[in-house]
Amino acid sequence: MKKNLNISIYILAVGIIMAGSGCKKTSDFLTLRDRNGIDARIWETEGAVQYLLNETYDMIMPDFPFQYTANNFAIHLVSDENYFSANDNWGKKVFNFNGFLVANDPRYIAAKYQGTNIGDNRYFDVARCNLAIANLPASQTIPQQTKRGMLGQFYALRAMLYFNLTKYYGGVPLVLEPQNPSSLTLQGRVKAKVMFEQIVKDLDSAIANLDGISWSESTERGKLTKAAAMALKAKALLYWASPQFNPENDPQHPHDAQRWQTAHQAAKEAYEGCIAAGHALMPDYSKIFQTEGAANKEAIIIKSYSATQPKRGHDVEARCRPVSENGQPHDYYYASTHMLDAYTMKDGTPITGNNDYDPEMFWLNRDPRFDATMAYNGCTWKLSGKNNRRQWTYVNAIEESGNRGLYCKKFSSPDLPFGNVRKSGDFGGSGMDWIELRFAEVMLNYAETANETGDLPLAKQLVREIRKRAGIEEGAFDYGLALANSKEEMRDLIMNERMVEFAFEGKRGDDLRRTRRMHQLTGTLEALQFVVVDDEKKKFLETVIDPQTGLRNRDTLDMTNKATVQTYFNTVVIIPNGNAGFSMPEYYYFFSLHNQFINSTPLLEQTIGWEGGTFDPL
């Protein structure tokens, strides 16, 4: 029995020792590695910082207009170039066609306390940059050159972001340090001046850090470059000098002409920097968006898309295309009459009082950019690889719907097969890259600062190059430039040029606001439709004459022949029901902070002009 007892104790002891020997100190036993992410070690891991940078690009880099629409973003897309603004609920409110905006409406700045999706909260995007800018310099292991390249991009991205916020709000809280619950930068909004100083400072840092750094064409295209940072700086300073921030006749905010000098200097440097970096205008205006990669020297800032990479596509192709070619056409790409009228004749002279201009045959003899951009009734528009395909835009045209009188050709891919047009799930669409900033803009910015600082010849020279590339004939008026003989006339000409050159690229609204021309718009927003004279004519037009090809009678019409056109069609201006005239209040130039944002701290003031507003960004 004694023996048994001993055995028992022995076995038990072995058990206990075995258990005990496996023991580590509790704090060690409980210290586990994070298997689902990386902690502060990120700053010593080049690949991880690069991943963070990639995500930052994804969040900050602008998209095709209308790609992002959450949080009432339509308010910011509004301009007079398309029918969208006349028909969209928010668009109408901005122009006061149908009621006003209230302070709670604009929500670009932040809608959520999260940052996983674009537009959730721009300060989550700021935070990404701030984290990198604060932590990267101290990194021991990341090589200096790599660090510079990454820092430069973070600075440029932060500047882009703050620039957008400044554009919309005038001044917002300027957060430059990483935040956490125990250390918060608690401050209210800062003035536009401070915003611009910081933007320029960040861009200067970007320029310095990106100097001498180049990106691989095959794997790094789209990373911000020194030239891009210079162009952004010029653009920012252009805004700072422009009437939105530098009103001309506002006793409270005296005009500061010096800003134009600064802007001009930056514009000059950007222009020269871009040329030095190899940027130039594309020879063919209609191919700017259809050309990707090194061949596109005009593109300075782009966001890449792909039809075949999951979740990296867009559905712009479907938004542009007519239903007959598998599209889902969108009002954003439906030109307004303002837009149509902005195109000059083919010699650069405006349509007003022009003998060559016939309102019923308005598509004839225009600036070639018209044909490159607009699809009108009976025009030729190659889609789905169909050469000589003609587009019919008359009301109730067979196989179409939506009754749009015009479509936009600019962002369509003529050879994209029918079946690939729609984005379905994570794939599809054209995968066309978005060009956020192209050399033409650098030139026109430079032209504008030149004009404002009194260098009319330089301004004309730059615009002339744009018009030459567009295919405008020199004509009797030096590409139409001879008609501008003063700073004011040139200013108008440049504005018009920008509207045409950048049609549907989302720049028009910004320009109207920057120049404080938005509240001065007159008339109302209209779009065109073509109407078939009668049902019998419609039946005739749509009769198939060649069952093999599906050719119909209409496909044989000569749309340059006025008599023919008049036989079948009327051109009708449509006004969306009940829209009043343009009457945007001037305080819209700086949007309000919405309730959730402004309520999140007592430090914030509402923008002046809006209900309860006291904060004057200027």
């Binding site: 048994n4 206990i16 991943y51 306390y113 956490n180 918060l184 990669g293 990479q309 990296r312």
Partner: protein, 1142 residues
């Protein structure tokens, strides 16, 4: 001789060769009085073992006697016990006596009449043993010589020795939880006493975590239930069978769909909704055989493998300090029993069908309803069904899409187990198979499990226990596996009846389901399966010295290692739906002969093949040292222990898209660039130390203290430790003389109280540390795809244990000759440092981060629980028992994060429900408009508008057939802002579970009833807001609605603006009283003699029904257990079962 016998008795070691067979039914069991046994040269010991097994009679004797005995040769068949024993002992030097279910052996001379006592002998020594009616020794019984002060207490092995004065002849033996018994000891020096336990269960062994206690010693609210009480119910798992049986235990089914989850909730545990997104859970902790397991393991446990279930509801859970805050469910599984191997089978086969199927309008009624609506709205003529169309629809005989789908199905469970062994080694092995078939789409939930265990006494005092378990569960479906299939069924049930399911085998594309077809989907080859295979090794070594200075010590070392692997497979091939030509005035009717076009449903990147794999591994090991001794009337036990556990897991899922080779559900048939979703890796470790001290005096007073110290890897260094103490007191007041002498109708009464702290660490790990996580959506540089990295966690370095202080006071009573038992508990819980996500709005929106998870919320919860049992004999052989349990509870949130700006923004549902308010009143479902009535006529409208000129409902001027509401905010119009709490409370006044049992001879019937009285229930929003359209049918109750022809209809026009807006209103509330028969079991115990003829030791046949009848249903259109009309219906199961032992 007398002396030598006495001496023998003093030195003898008493051994009970006993084994216990669980009574097969709580109160309808019995042993035969005959023995069947054959054998040659069998040790006498084995013969008595057989007697014990067959008759329940145990042996009481000097061990040496038994060892000295010769082996015997017997051959008996159903021989009466007396005769059999006499037969066996015929050639032995032994005599015997049968005394109260105990066979007492003695040396033969004892049988001779004792010589007359010497006159000078004033007293004698009486020795004895006290056992309960299951033969288990009873310690702590009080033995008193009647009429004297001589008293003693039985030891742990039930034995006692007492001096009896000569003139006394009666011993009074009492014990809590048993009937007091008087024994005549005239002429006896050795007695065996069996105390009949009474139905207060006070002698039951209650598993309380790392040990067990007698019920009378417990100080906390511990509910127990024998698995035998629930194993016959054809429910998907143990959790489901517990519905309505335990006060304070909530059981909720997601739906009737096989495989849908069933969750348990102890005393209405709650979490902050936000914290729920970060891993906090209101579920209790599941512990099987001392090892903490996950929910899936608990769900896969076959009820037939379970011995008993304890639920720790209060601070008694402090021994599980960590994660004990939401209660603990303790399961003990079956173990082997010594004796000849016993084979047991039990199982059932049943049929399931919906208790209620959604009742929708016929095609004709639907079309009429639409026409009426169009008429009222002055709609264009081309929307109407023409009279010819209506006639056509009337003549249609299409099967409804639901009927085309739904069929009754079969469910079954089979369990086979073997148990046996010697007194040194026992074993248990059992396998089970459970199969639940859904009612459509090949839905199936199958479980296979195998459990085995071996217990060996290695050397004296050392015992090893090794168990090995495997389970395998399979869920299959030809539509997506979900909890309630709502979206699938909703679409299907709402298809108008004039739409055929298919025409010539071609699936009809109806407008409503927009290029898909529920039945086409099922038939397309689509499948979705979830499988899980798990194993567990559970080994323990128990050292329990039987003598020496270590006597009373129990050392236990237990280690368990487990692993499981699972896979998720989904295959979504393309299939086609057909657009048939339409006709009729509004083009709604289907032409059977003309196909306009064919649509592919899952073409290109919508075709999918998914393969997901998961694996988990864990171990848990602990060492406990327990020392328990009884000195005189002092009974104490000390337990200390240490525990460590670790687990890790991994998930991986890959999707292939764009099927290239139709018909193959293999990866190579798809586009070869799969989509890998973010793998999940988890790791956690925990280390704990704990102790329990328990002291009981005289069977009356119990003092107990428990402390557990836990360290969890979920928190940062310095915050890992949590300390969870508790203390409890118990007083068996009925053992006091003053009580016993005065109050006769109370047989037993105990008052107990405890207070303690429990904790919870169940929240996501690493919330204390910053984390950058991969975002697979990434970014593109040119055509070069690169992943992204997101900052995802704003760390809260201080995050630590959630805590709950609980106070529980309870009374256990048994009255009226133990016929009535009563259990009452009052509790108060104070939950603090509860996990809550910090309020984002407390930070400026430009801070650029989301608020971290913090220990913040404070809640108070309180309540009472009542459980009343009554059992009696109604007539000869007719027994009745019943048990009713109910409880009342409430809580208030005392501190929480809330968005202060929502206080004036118009979203009251978000905040009114929680903070500082009475949740019985301020719940989102109770928030709505006060309906004043319905406008029946234009005159009524005009009269009303006369008084309230600007009255509008959601901006619309009232019309006849619309509901109208009280203008709560007084602004003259009805908007969102007029919403207000509608009723003072919506919860039932009383909600109870009732179990009734009746047994007559071999028949036993038990019934489980659920009842709810008062309160409000609401028409569910799906039923209420469904509006008929040409694509959507509506529930049949809509026939009784207001129309110009039927101005007294019960329901409003469906263009009522409040329906449009989905506004709750008092109109949709009905009295919530509900009574239903949940389940009913009829058992026939086949009499021994018949079973014996079939070679069986016992046999039972049973018929069971689950979810049988709803006697009072507040909302007739659905089963009260279903949340929504379109959920997978609640199922009724009728089954036949068999249970046999060999």
């Amino acid at each position: 001789m007398q002396k030598s016998t006495a001496k023998t008795l003093i030195v003898m070691k008493i051994v009970f060769i006993v084994s216990t067979i669980a009574t097969l039914s709580a109160y309808a069991s019995g042993y035969s009085q005959t023995v069947t046994f054959s054998g040659k040269d069998v040790p006498l010991k084995n013969v008595f073992t057989a007697i014990r097994q067959q008759t329940g009679y145990s042996l009481f004797c000097n061990k040496q006697l038994l060892e000295l005995a010769q082996p015997v040769t017997v051959n008996a068949r159903e021989m009466p016990l007396n005769e059999f024993v006499a037969n066996v002992l015929k050639h032995q030097p032994l005599g015997f006596r049968i005394d109260d279910k105990t066979i007492i052996l003695s040396e033969k001379p004892e049988e001779k009449p004792a010589p007359p006592p010497a006159p000078e002998q004033r007293e004698k020594i009486v020795r004895g043993r006290v056992s309960d009616d299951e033969g288990e020794p009873l310690s702590g019984a009080t033995i008193t010589v009647k009429g004297t002060k001589e008293t003693t207490i039985s030891k742990e092995d039930g034995t006692f020795t007492i001096k009896v004065p000569d003139d006394a002849s009666v011993l009074v033996i009492s014990h809590v939880g048993t009937a007091t018994q008087e024994v005549n000891i005239e002429g006896k020096t050795m007695i065996a006493v069996t105390l009949a336990s009474v139905n207060n269960n006070m002698n039951d062994v209650v598993v309380i975590g790392y040990g067990s206690q007698k019920r009378y010693q417990t100080t906390g609210a511990v509910a127990t239930i024998k698995a035998s009480e629930v194993q016959d119910i054809p429910s998907p798992n143990i959790a489901g069978a517990l519905r309505g049986r335990i006060a304070g235990l909530g059981v909720s089914y997601s739906s009737g769909r096989p495989g849908a989850s069933i969750t348990l909730n102890v005393r209405n545990s709650r979490i902050s909704e936000q914290a729920g997104l970060f891993g906090a859970t209101p579920e209790p902790l599941y512990v099987i055989d001392n090892i903490i397991v996950d929910k899936a393991t608990f769900d896969n446990l076959d009820p037939s493998m379970v011995e008993d279930i304890s639920i720790l509801k209060d601070a008694s859970a402090a021994i599980y300090g960590a994660a004990g805050a939401k209660g603990v469910v303790l399961i003990t599984t079956k173990r082997g029993r010594a004796g000849v191997p016993q084979l047991t089978y039990n199982g059932y086969v049943g049929v399931t069908d919906a208790t209620r199927k959604p009742d929708m309008l016929s095609g004709y009624e639907h079309a009429l309803l639409l026409n009426e609506g169009y008429k009222m709205a002055n709609a264009q003529p081309n929307l109407f069904f023409s009279p010819e169309d209506l006639e056509y629809i009337k003549g249609l005989n299409y099967q409804s899409w639901f009927d085309a789908l739904w069929q009754p199905s079969v469910t079954q469970r089979h369990n086979l187990s073997v148990s046996g062994g010697s007194d040194r080694v026992t074993f248990f092995a059992g396998g089970s198979y459970q199969n639940e078939n859904g009612n459509y789409a090949g839905i199936k939930a199958d479980k296979y499990s195998f459990r085995s265990g071996i217990t060996a006494k290695l050397v004296r005092g050392l015992q090893a226990d090794i168990a090995f378990n495997i389970d395998h569960s399979i869920k299959e479906s030809k539509n997506e596996i979900s909890e309630n299939d709502q979206s699938f069924l909703e679409k299907l049930i709402q298809v108008p009846r004039w739409v055929p399911v298919s025409i010539d085998g071609k699936w009809v594309n109806d407008n409503g389901s927009a290029n898909s077809h529920p039945l086409g989907h099922i038939e397309s080859g689509f499948y979705h399966t979830n499988k899980r295979q798990a194993y567990r090794i559970n080994a323990s070594l128990i050292y329990q010295p039987e003598s020496g200075f270590l006597k009373g010590l129990t050392a236990r070392f237990q280690v368990s290692q487990a692993g499981d692997g699972g896979d998720v497979d989904m295959y979504r091939p393309n299939y086609q739906v057909y657009n048939f030509a339409r006709f009729g005035n509004n083009e709604q009717l289907y032409r059977e002969d003309s196909i306009l076009s064919v649509r592919d449903v899952f073409i290109g990147n919508n075709s999918l093949l998914r393969r997901g794999l998961t694996k988990r591994n864990s171990y848990q090991g602990f060492l406990t040292l327990q020392y328990a001794r009884t000195f005189d009337r002092h009974n104490f036990s000390v337990l200390v222990g240490g525990e460590q556990s670790a687990s890790n897991g991994e998930d991986l899922q890959v999707d292939w898209m764009n099927q290239q080779m139709p018909g193959y559900d293999d990866y190579w048939a798809f586009d070869q660039s799969p989509n890998v979703s973010r793998p999940q890796l988890t790791e956690s470790t925990k280390r704990s130390f704990f102790g329990r001290v328990s002291y009981n005096f005289d069977g009356k007073y119990t003092l107990e203290g428990v402390t557990r110290v836990d360290a969890s890897s979920n928190f940062a260094k310095g915050k890992i430790w949590g300390v969870f103490p508790s203390v409890g007191l118990g007083w068996v007041i009925s053992q006091e003389d003053f009580f016993r002498d005065r109050i006769n109708f109370i047989n037993y009464m105990k008052i107990r109280a405890n207070v303690g702290l429990t904790g919870d660490d169940r929240v996501n790990a690493r919330l204390w540390q910053e984390r950058f996580a991969v975002d697979a959506a990434g970014y593109l540089y040119g055509e070069n795809f690169v992943p992204g990295l997101q900052p995802t966690v704003i760390p809260n370095p201080d995050i630590s244990w959630e805590k709950k202080r609980t106070v529980n006071v309870g009374v256990d009573m048994s009255l009226l000759d133990n016929k009535l038992s009563l259990g009452i508990d009052f509790f108060q819980n104070y939950i603090y440092d509860a996990f809550d996500k910090g309020n984002d709005q407390n930070f400026p929106m430009y801070a650029g981060f989301a608020a971290p998870v913090v220990n913040y919320q404070i809640r108070y919860a309180w309540g009472s629980e009542f459980s009343i049992g009554y059992r009696t004999r109604l007539a000869r052989d007719l027994y009745f028992k019943s048990n009713i349990n109910f409880g009342f509870s409430n809580f208030v949130v005392d501190r929480m994060f809330y968005n202060r700006f929502l206080l004036w923004e118009n979203s009251p549902e978000d905040w009114q429900v929680d903070f500082g308010t009475d949740p019985r009143k301020y719940t989102s479902s109770n928030y709505g408009l006060i309906a004043l009535g319905m406008f029946r006529t234009q005159e009524e409208v005009d009269a009303f508008l006369g008084k309230n000129p600007n009255y509008t409902i959601d901006g619309k001027v009232p019309q006849p057939g619309w509901l109208y509401f009280e203008d709560v905010n007084g602004d003259g119009v009805i908007t969102d802002k007029d919403k207000t709490p509608m009723f003072n409370r919506t919860d039932p006044a009383l909600s109870t579970g009732i179990q009734l049992g009746l047994s007559y001879k071999s028949l036993a019937l038990s019934i489980n009833i659920a009842a709810r009285f008062g309160g409000k229930v609401f028409y569910d929003s799906k039923a209420r807001r469904s509006k008929p359209t040409p694509q959507k049918n509506v529930p049949v109750f809509w026939t009784d609605r207001w129309t110009p022809e039927n101005p007294n209809g019960k329901f409003p026009r469906w263009d009522d603006p409040s329906i449009d807006r989905g506004w709750e209103s008092t109109f949709w509330a009905v009295d919530g009283t509900m009574i239903r028969v949940n389940d009913m079991t009829l058992v026939y115990n086949v009499p021994k003699r018949i079973a014996g003829k079939a070679g069986l030791s016992n046999a039972r046949i049973l018929a069971t029904g689950n979810n049988l009848w709803v006697l009072k249903n507040p909302l007739k259109y659905k089963d009260p257990y279903s949340s929504y009309i379109y959920d997978y219906p609640t199922l009724r199961t009728i089954s036949l079962g068999l249970s046999i032992g060999l």
